[in-house]
Amino acid sequence: MTAPGFGIRRSGFAVTAALLVAGCAGSTPTTPSTTSSAPASETWSGTVAPGGQTSRSFTVSAAGTINVTLTAAGTTPIGVGVGLPRLTGGGCRLGLSVDATPGTTPQISTLAEAGQYCVQVYDLGTISGDPVGFALKIDHP
């Protein structure tokens, strides 16, 4: 069993060495760099049972717009929402939601700060019998 703090001691050596090396490096100024996050596009497919809901988390790396497009589902509308992941127990706490039918334009488009978010798909009370399959696309910074 590793003694508590062992990793920290090793890190201490590594940091010390890095400081020594970096401290004596040439003093040529470097051009300041800006960090830009490439837009991400995620696809997600699954099923929703009668009275059920399912959710998926994603990370927004910088402030920008989240677009959610329900691209495939059954013949009746289903609920789609975006929010924050629950702190415990999984699931999603929704900030906005819509009753959606499949399409090619985003059913949800909203500004968001950088952070952890989730999208949830849920039955509006219209699913009976077998679970309904769906597919959606999430575009975000």
Partner: protein, 141 residues
């Protein structure tokens, strides 16, 4: 402990060895780390709730009502609520600044606060017809 001592010694030694005759700079002040806290709870109609947080140094504080959803059914509740910040007073929060807003994924209220203990508050102004789950994000130094 010896390693940490070595690390602390290495920094000034390195700087001195590679000085190149540069002018000494004044010690810089420490910038408090910005942190985001979550306040998740249940709000009953015509009630309020608050969350205390500690600001480590003068800086920008932002409050975001990110989620409002019914307890017994899925979907977001787009009700206008009042969110604010202030200082704890007795068993409540003495509001200094507030705004009425619907849930969203960007900050609805910002301000500059000095180091100290503050509280973030949420209140129903008469729009809730049922109890709701809510999620707030408080970002502060």
């Amino acid at each position: 402990m010896r390693v940490f001592a070595a690390l602390l010694c290495a920094v000034p030694v390195t700087a001195a060895a590679c000085g190149n005759g540069s002018t000494a700079t004044a010690p810089s002040s420490t910038t408090p780390t910005v942190k985001t806290e979550r306040f998740d709870a249940i709000l009953l109609p015509r009630t309020s709730a608050f969350f205390s947080f500690q600001v480590g140094g003068t800086g920008s504080v932002s409050i975001n009502l990110a989620s409002l959803s019914a307890l017994a059914r899925p979907g977001a509740v787009p009700a206008v609520m009042e969110i604010g910040y202030g200082v704890p007073a007795g068993e409540g929060c003495s509001i200094q600044n507030s705004v009425q807003t619907t849930p969203g994924l960007t900050s609805q209220l910002t301000g500059t606060l000095a180091a100290g203990i503050y509280c973030a508050n949420i209140a129903d102004i008469g729009n809730l017809i049922e109890s709701v789950n809510f999620s707030m994000r408080i970002t502060h130094p």
